[in-house]
């Protein structure tokens, strides 16, 4: 069984009273926004001053990044073309990984025999950084779009498998007993008990997989095909255009925050009964 003791998520404990008084300013809405605004101003000013004083082939001030953004996203649409190109391979790989990951995870989690046979390989591949498999994948499937999809798939299938395994082992015993008392078939048990109680775990897996899918997308684009956002970053760096690199990086930051936010939104829609914290506590 899984040892749950070091993951039990305890309820968030509020800070002590004295602490709250002392830092009451930071607790007010305006205080927090002021602190954030000041930090942002300091960061941007330091960025601008440092950027102007240093070699423009290596670092770009904030203003240069803004004008590069206008250049790449408004005057031309190369940024959006690259982002869409990237997203396509990523979405396909992610979409294939969801059913495969859930099916494999369910099989391992529910059936002991499957677990004994498969878990050494799953553990090994989960621990292995997928980047080392890329040369092997190039030998096997070449450097086209399928390679990109496979890399994304491999990056995100294991988090989904592993969370599904954990979820399927954490099904409430009493509910399972009830199901078997009522002579539920395996199929009925899966549909009415196992899957609903696994959903929060599956979403946790998807949450992590979104992040690894982005990593896979970039790996493929930087090491295999030189297209999309990863390709933009590599070509701009190699031609000493740090402003263009920084624009692409900021787009990536925005994209990953957006995807994670979207995932949370979907989760909240589909399984409103489980908050993030409940589901991740074992």
């Amino acid at each position: 069984m899984i040892s749950g003791r070091d993951v039990a998520t305890r309820p968030a404990e509020s800070r002590s009273g004295a602490e709250q008084d002392r830092e009451a300013f930071a607790d007010t809405r305006w205080g927090a926004w002021l602190i954030r605004a000041v930090t942002l101003a300091v960061v941007l000013a330091a960025w601008e001053i440092y950027g102007r004083s240093t070699n423009p082939a290596l670092f770009a001030p904030f203003s240069a990044v803004v004008s590069a953004f206008v250049d790449m996203a408004v005057t031309s649409n190369e940024l959006w073309t690259a982002a869409i190109d990237s997203a396509r391979a990523m979405i396909i790989g992610f979409a294939i990984a969801i059913p495969v990951g859930i099916a494999v995870g369910l099989a391992i989690g529910r059936y002991r025999t499957v677990e004994y046979v498969l878990d050494p390989y799953v553990s090994f591949l989960y621990a292995l950084p997928m980047v080392v498999l890329i040369p092997l994948l190039i030998i096997w499937i070449g450097i086209g779009t399928p390679a990109r999809i496979v890399i994304v798939f491999l990056e995100c299938v294991f988090p989904i498998i592993i969370n599904t395994i954990i979820g399927s082992k954490e099904v409430d015993r009493r509910l399972l007993d009830t199901a078997s008392s009522f002579c539920a078939s395996e199929r009925q048990t899966l549909r009415t008990v196992v899957v609903p109680s696994m959903l929060p775990y599956i979403f946790t897996g998807l949450h992590v997989a979104i992040g690894t899918a982005l990593v896979g997308m970039l790996l493929a684009e930087m090491l295999v095909v030189l297209r999309g956002l990863g390709g933009l970053i590599v070509t701009a760096s190699n031609s000493y255009q740090p402003d263009r690199v920084m624009v692409t990086l900021l787009v990536l930051v925005a994209e990953s925050l957006l995807l994670v936010g979207l995932m949370k939104r979907i989760r909240h829609r589909l399984i409103p009964w489980s908050s993030e914290n409940e589901s991740t506590s074992i």
Binding site: V7, A26, I35, I139, M222
Partner: protein, 269 residues
Amino acid sequence: MNDDLSRSEIVMDQWPSVVYPADRRAKLLRFGSLFVVLALWELVGRQNAVFLSYPTAVAQAAWEVLVLDDRLRSAFAETLTGYAVGFVAATVLGIAVGFLMGQFKTFDIALSPYVNALYATPRIAIIPILVLWVGIGFGLRVTIVILSAIFPIIITVRDGAKSVAAEYLDVARSFVATKWQTWRTAILPGSLPYVFAALRIGAQRSLIGIIVAETLAAVTGTGRMIQDYGQFFQTDRLLVPILAIGFFSILMTSALHLLQRKVTPWERR
């Protein structure tokens, strides 16, 4: 706050520590399946050595590149040095920043947006520009390891206070413990399991980072060797560092589990 992000990965971190009843059927099935897989690989691989290679060829290649030749060995040494230095630096810096953010709300509010954004962003994307800034040698390895490992550590140390049982904090408050005393005696030990989970996540992520950096930029190191073997279709040799890295990753995770058990004896059951 974005702490659910780290929580998600901490749950997954449990997987390798899953304890199985070591009954005979389990052993039989596991070794049986391993035997079948290796035998099949040997049979099919011999038909197409470039595509798949086969276990005996990989064993022979391992002998060649690890014992007879010292290129791969020195590549491993180079990678490991950068990895170790970066990981220690990330641990120290991460705990320090996380502590400041956890204890002083102003720090937390000021830095959280950046930490959360950097935590969620794939760090391998900054490798090409890092090459411009720190070159392609030791500095690149250390920097990418720090950037890969530090954010999970910062976030878990920052949220450490939230994961400590309320009773302990109450006891500390009843005994009029100072902030520092509370941190040292209640919050730090209480959040150690989370910190170790973060270290394991960081260890994995920085392994990815260092290999990508070596593949993209460095002219030496394990990543470069993998790339070379792949380009010359030496599949048998290519599999040697792949398997080595996989086992190293498992070793690293188990070592951190072991260390955790040593420093948090009260968590043992």
